[in-house]
Symmetry: C2
Subunit: 218 residues, 2 copies
């Protein structure tokens, strides 16, 4: 019974962290497009909650390690939870990096021209993947991994599209917006990779097997 409570609480914590990460990404992206400094600051401030909550997860897992002799299922849960916590902390940092670009470019919007719709779509997909990772954690649904992998593929394809746009001869917005667009694309891509990895860990929790479809983060 204590074990079941522990596992349920751990899942709830991680799913909550995933939803927060998703909100941070959506807000970071909105701050970019509206050159909204106040919103960027909200992302920077609330992003600090993820490392704190990650440490709490670490400490709780550490206590269980030290006090009990965890059985195989517990161990699997603990290791997967620790790694999901790491992923979620990173996702918070990536959203914060985007908010910092909003600050850097202010009062101008950081991303101009044809790069805007591509980045808007990438960040929407990335934020949605975080929500889906939360659901995967709660439901431990091995089927979710395929849906997430498809959205992640679209993020990767959009990153290629972004390079074509900023490297095209008709890109007229100069060096700085191109560099920012390329970095934001990278941050969205990594954010999405971490979300897919979390769903893979949820699948592992459910089945004891890593899904073959799980793309290794690159």
């Amino acid at each position: 019974m204590r074990r079941a409570v522990f596992h349920a609480e751990l899942t709830e914590d991680l799913a909550g962290m995933a939803r927060l990460a998703g909100q941070l990404m959506i807000n970071a992206s909105a701050s970019l497009f509206q050159a909204d400094l106040a919103l960027a600051d909200v992302v920077l401030a609330r992003g600090e909650e993820l490392p704190v909550r990650h440490r709490e997860v670490q400490q709780r897992c550490g206590t269980l390690f030290a006090r009990h002799a965890p059985v195989a299922t517990d161990l699997r849960t603990l290791v997967a939870a620790l790694r999901a916590g790491s992923d979620l902390r990173r996702m918070g940092h990536l959203a914060q990096h985007i908010a910092r670009i909003t600050r850097f470019a202010h009062p101008h919007p950081a991303v101009p021209g044809g790069a805007r719709p591509v980045i808007a779509r990438m960040s929407l997909l990335a934020g949605g993947l975080a929500d889906q990772a939360a659901i995967a954690l709660e439901k431990r649904d091995p089927g979710s991994i395929k849906r997430l992998a498809r959205a992640d593929d679209e993020v990767d394809a959009l990153r290629g599209e972004l390079f074509r746009i900023v490297f095209a001869t008709n890109w007229s917005h100069g060096v700085q917006p191109a560099v920012h667009a390329a970095l934001i694309g990278r941050y969205c891509e990594r954010f999405a990779d971490h979300a897919v990895a979390i769903a893979g860990r949820a699948c592992y929790l459910a089945t004891g097997r890593l899904p073959e479809l799980l793309p290794l983060p690159r």
Copy 2:
């Protein structure tokens, strides 16, 4: 006795992976500056060894989880080893990303002008950090973390310098080299962060405590 052998083998595997990651970074950087396609291909090919070796580490840890009831020290070793393995796989991917930029820009060197010495220094520091992470794993030396954190700080400072160079009004090399320089800077920075994180895990193995100086990867 079996436990001691297992721990020693795990350490040897991870230290070997760290040395390979360091070589990949140094070679990726050399391929950039010499526009050396063959060397870039070596990095791309040999980088594939790290995910394979990481999976072997995972499988071996998984077997120990399943067959034995690991005691607290074993658990600490296993969790730290799994996370170090993840870091090392990522470091390989980051070196490969740099090699891909060499390929993309060929026959031109990807990085021109004032960005060259900065990136040369960053990649040298990053490669050196991987070697130091290997030594930290072998010696489980808590003192190593301070040295690594200092080198990592220099990498972060150089990344700021790189932005100043490519965003300066006298940057005359256009959009593509600026984007490549910014991305390579990011890859070097992340590579260095992972190396420091591995040394932190080695310190944790030695002392059971995470070093306070350990910078959280951003």
